[in-house]
Symmetry: C2
Subunit: 194 residues, 2 copies
């Protein structure tokens, strides 16, 4: 039974490997920026489905995992991937000393084309950062290609006091939810029945 | 400035490496089982200090990091490292469907021998596990050498619905707190001033 991760994210690959699963990585060609849905949780769900669906159609006989992770500031602003240093700085300034919400949606498409979907939402509590600390973070460059311009796996952890939710969902692939959906989809995941 | 991690834990080494720091691993000879303090948070603090102190004395001119992680079930029972399959099973059964508390204490000893101490406490919410799931987990063997007989970095994550606190503290080295203590101890940690 072939398993495909429809994502180019190296972090997601690492998390899936940690479960001891054999899988192939085939990133979808879905353009996130083109999607019109503005509600963050619905947007994440839609994008996870679009990505899984895109790859599932091209790879019959596979179980496909689609994922999308979005960050929402506590004033409701959607924080996607910053394209410039200035945009990254504004995102970090907005989150400093505050709590962001991370929605990580999953869509698993099984061998019969049936969808198994869910969303893992977590709170991230940021340290109140000085200008010097924000300069440091922007200087590391590690905000690139990360929703909300932060990361929690590595140096970025120094800015995060605590979380409520699933750490792996914040990284980008909520493992507990994935276990549940893969089991529903008939994929043999050791003997755990999530 | 030489930095020493006074712990044999491979998970702690990985977390410290993720911060891009250069350090040496020198496990202390402290016997955890011999320590008389029963209160979990105080016990973790004492052991972190004893480990750091043991290595600091033998390595003058170094900054030493000592750590201790303890798990407490929601009935207050201290769950240390299980020595047998039966003990591991009892620990997992006790935590199934319930919330455990993980105390991760750090003690950093600076070049002048001054202590910088703190504790990171996190809640871990376990799935209600079936007998078959408990069999599976015990069969993986991954409970060995882990306080509370679970782990959150890898397969064990499939049993954990959510956390409140610092994921890295549950793994064994609370990175946010470490940043704060290393900065207090005068160790140059990039430009972040935790």
């Amino acid at each position: 039974m072939k398993l495909i991760l429809a994502s180019a994210s190296p972090q997601r690959k690492v998390l899936l490997e940690a479960l001891g699963l054999k899988f192939e990585v085939i990133p979808s060609g879905i353009e996130e920026d083109d999607h019109p849905e503005p509600d963050p949780a619905n947007r994440a769900r839609d994008l996870a489905w679009l990505k899984a669906s895109d790859i599932s159609k091209k790879n019959p006989g596979s179980i496909v995992i689609g994922c999308d992770t979005l960050v929402v500031a506590d004033d409701g602003t959607l924080l996607e991937k910053a394209k410039t240093v200035d945009a990254a700085r504004r995102m970090i300034e907005k989150q400093s000393g505050r709590t962001s919400l991370v929605h990580s949606a999953l869509c698993v498409i099984d061998l019969k084309g049936k969808l198994h979907e869910g969303i893992s939402s977590s709170k991230v509590f940021f340290k109140k950062l000085s200008d010097q600390e924000i300069d440091w973070w922007i200087g590391t460059g590690q905000w690139r290609d990360r929703s909300g311009s932060f990361q929690i796996d590595g140096l970025g952890q120094l800015m995060i006091e605590r979380i409520e939710g699933d750490y792996t969902g914040i990284v980008g692939l909520p493992v507990y939810l994935l276990g549940k959906l893969l089991t529903e989809a008939g994929y043999p995941l050791g003997k755990i029945d999530n």
